[in-house]
C-alpha cells in the first residue's frame, strides 16, 4: 500500500510543478526555470525545518515566498527575450541554481551528527514527517490538500479578468499591448505565481523524500515541468493533472517492468500522445 501512497505523493508534487509551468505557459512563455524554483523551495523549507526547527506549514509558506521572489527577480530580465532565447535563458538559470546547491554547504551540529546541505553530498535527514509521527497516508492527504488549493487558485484566476489577460498575452502580444496590457507586468506576475507554486512543491518534495541533492533538480525535471501543461493542454488545470498521472503513473511506474527499454517507449508514447492530441489531453477551448 505504501508504494501506492508514495506514487500518489509523487504525482501530487509533480502536479504542483506542472501547475507552476501552466500559468507561465498561459502567457505563451516556455520556461525551463521551474525546476530551479522547485529547488529553491526544497532547500528553503528543508533548512527551516531541520536547522531552524520550524513547523512544516510556515516553512512551506517561506518556500513559496522564496520561489516567488526568485521567479520575480529572474522574470524581469528573462521575459524581455522571447521564444528560443527565453528557453535558453531559463535553462541557464535552472542549471545555475543546480550548480549553486552543488557548491552550497551550510551545516550545523545537532547532537552528535551534523545536519544541513552539504554540496554534492546533498541534504540528508529532512525528517520532519517521521519525527512528528506522520504516516504515509497522512502525508499524502496533506500534499493533496495543498495541490487542491493550488488548483483552486488557478481555477479562480482562470475565471477572473486576470486569467483572460494571461491568455490574451499568450495569443497575441502585439494586440494585447495595443489594448493597453502591460506585457512585462503580466508575464512577470505569472512567473511569480508560478515560482510560488513551484517553491511549495519543492518544499513538499524535500520532506517526503527526506533527502535532496542537486542532481534531482536537473534539466530532466525542468523538461517534465513544461511537458505536463503542454501534454495536458491549456483548457484548464485538470489537463495538467491528467498529464502528470499519465507520465508519472503510467509511463514511469506502470512501465517499470520493461527495465531500460522503458525510456525508449516513454519517448515514443509522448510523441504519440502529442500527435493524437496536438493541443493536449483536454484540447484547446472550443467554447468559452
Amino acid at each position: 500500500m505504501d508504494f501506492y501512497f508514495g506514487l500518489v505523493q509523487i504525482i501530487g508534487v509533480h502536479t504542483l510543478l506542472g501547475l507552476s509551468a501552466y500559468i507561465v505557459l498561459l502567457t505563451g512563455q516556455v520556461s525551463l526555470a521551474q525546476a530551479g524554483f522547485f529547488a529553491v523551495g526544497a532547500y528553503a523549507a528543508g533548512m527551516l525545518t531541520v536547522l531552524a526547527g520550524w513547523h512544516l506549514v510556515p516553512a512551506l509558506g517561506a518556500s513559496a515566498v522564496c520561489g516567488a521572489g526568485v521567479a520575480c527577480a529572474v522574470g524581469f530580465p528573462a521575459l524581455r527575450v522571447k521564444g528560443l532565447m527565453l528557453v535558453i535563458a531559463t535553462l541557464a538559470f535552472g542549471e545555475g541554481v543546480r550548480l549553486f546547491f552543488f557548491n552550497f554547504d551550510y551545516q550545523i551540529a545537532k547532537g552528535e551528527i551534523k545536519v544541513g546541505p552539504l554540496g554534492g553530498e546533498g541534504f540528508r535527514q529532512i525528517r520532519f514527517f517521521p519525527e512528528n509521527g506522520w504516516t504515509t497516508g497522512e502525508v499524502m492527504v496533506f500534499i493533496w490538500s495543498i495541490v487542491a488549493a493550488a488548483m483552486a487558485l488557478l481555477w479562480w484566476f482562470d475565471r477572473s479578468r486576470y486569467g483572460s489577460v494571461l491568455r490574451a498575452v499568450g495569443e497575441d502580444e502585439l494586440a494585447a499591448q495595443s489594448v493597453g496590457i502591460n506585457l512585462t507586468a503580466v508575464k512577470v506576475s505569472a512567473m511569480t505565481v508560478g515560482g510560488a507554486i513551484a517553491g511549495v512543491g519543492g518544499g513538499l518534495y524535500a520532506h517526503y523524500t527526506t533527502h535532496i541533492e542537486h542532481a534531482s533538480f536537473n534539466i530532466l525535471l525542468a523538461t517534465f515541468a513544461i511537458a505536463y501543461p503542454i501534454v495536458g493542454g491549456l483548457r484548464n488545470v485538470f489537463g495538467t493533472v491528467l498529464a502528470v498521472i499519465f507520465v508519472q503513473g503510467f509511463l514511469i511506474e506502470g512501465l517499470r517492468f520493461l527495465g531500460d527499454w522503458r525510456n525508449l517507449l516513454f519517448g515514443a508514447l509522448i510523441v504519440l500522445a502529442m500527435n493524437l492530441r496536438p493541443s493536449g489531453f483536454l484540447g484547446a477551448r472550443r467554447r468559452a
Binding site: 479562480w156 484566476f157 479578468r161 483572460s164 490574451a168 494586440a175 494585447a176 489594448v179 493597453g180 496590457i181
Partner: protein
C-alpha cells in the same frame, strides 16, 4: 488633438514614412489614403508606439508621446484596429472586450482586487452596451476565432471602443467587406463621432473615405502629396497621378 511633426520612419534604406506633417483636430474624421506601400500602416504603428519614429515628433493633446510605451498610449486615449484582424481567438467575444478595458477611467474606478480577480459582474452593463453597438450580443459566449469575417471586424472595433478612446485609429476597417457591410460600418463610424471620438481612418475603399471624412491627406512613398476636403482631393492632379499612373493627370 493629434499632431505629427516631420515624422519619419525608415527601415534600412526604405523611407516608409518620410517627413510627414499631419494635424488632426478634435472631433474630426480624418482620412489617410494612398497606394499600397505608401506608409499608411507604418504611420499608425508609429502613432501607437509599435515602431519608434526615426525622427520627428508625435504630439497627442499637446503631450509628446516619444517616451510613452504602447500600453500607456492606450491609457492616454489612443486605441486602434488592425488591418489584418488581431483578435484573441481562444477567448470569447465577451472576454475580448473584458481584457481591453484598460482606460484610465477603468483603472481608477475599480480597486486592484476587483479589477483583476473579481468576476464579470461589475462591468456587465458596459460590455453589453458594446455588444449591442456592434450587433454581437447573441454571440457573446462564442470564441472569437469562430466568428465570421464581418463579425470579427465588428468585434475588433468594439474592442477598441472598450478602451474608451479619445482618438481611434482605424487601419483599413472596410477591407474585404461587401457594400452592405461598408454602409453599416459608415453608420458606426459616424455614431462614434457623435460620441466625441476623433477618428483617423486609413482606408483604400474610396466609397467609405469620401463619404465619411471631413478632411483627407494623401500619402505616396511616405510623403504627403495632398491634403484637403474630400472634394478637393478628388479633383487634385497629384492624387490622380499617384493612383492612376503617369499621364492620368
Amino acid at each position: 488633438m493629434l499632431e505629427l511633426q516631420t515624422l519619419s520612419r525608415h527601415f534600412g534604406g526604405v523611407r516608409a514614412v518620410d517627413g510627414l506633417d499631419l494635424s488632426v483636430a478634435e472631433g474630426q474624421i480624418f482620412g489617410l489614403i494612398g497606394p499600397n506601400g505608401s506608409g499608411k500602416s507604418t504611420t499608425v504603428n508609429v502613432i501607437t508606439g509599435l515602431f519608434a519614429p526615426t525622427s520627428g515628433k508625435i504630439l497627442f493633446r499637446g503631450e509628446d508621446l516619444a517616451a510613452v510605451p504602447t500600453h500607456r498610449r492606450l491609457r492616454a486615449g489612443i486605441a486602434r484596429t488592425f488591418q489584418n484582424i488581431r483578435l484573441f481567438g481562444q477567448l470569447s467575444v465577451w472576454q475580448n472586450l473584458w481584457v481591453a478595458q484598460n482606460s484610465a477611467e477603468d483603472q481608477e474606478r475599480q480597486g486592484f482586487f476587483a479589477r483583476w480577480l473579481g468576476g464579470q459582474g461589475g462591468v456587465r452593463a458596459e460590455i453589453a452596451q458594446l455588444l449591442e453597438f456592434s450587433g454581437l450580443a447573441h454571440k457573446q459566449d462564442e470564441l472569437a476565432a469562430n466568428l465570421a469575417f464581418g463579425e470579427q471586424r465588428r468585434l475588433e472595433l468594439a474592442r477598441a471602443m472598450a478602451a474608451k478612446p479619445k482618438l481611434l485609429l482605424l487601419d483599413e476597417p472596410a477591407a474585404g467587406m461587401n457594400s452592405e457591410e461598408i454602409a453599416q460600418l459608415r453608420e458606426r463610424i459616424l455614431s462614434l463621432r457623435e460620441r466625441g471620438v476623433t477618428i483617423l481612418l486609413v482606408e483604400h475603399v474610396m466609397e467609405l473615405v469620401m463619404g465619411v471624412t471631413d478632411r483627407i491627406a494623401v500619402l505616396n512613398f511616405g510623403q504627403k502629396i495632398a491634403e484637403g476636403t474630400p472634394a478637393e482631393i478628388q479633383a487634385h492632379p497629384a492624387v490622380r497621378k499617384a493612383y492612376l499612373g503617369g499621364d492620368a493627370a
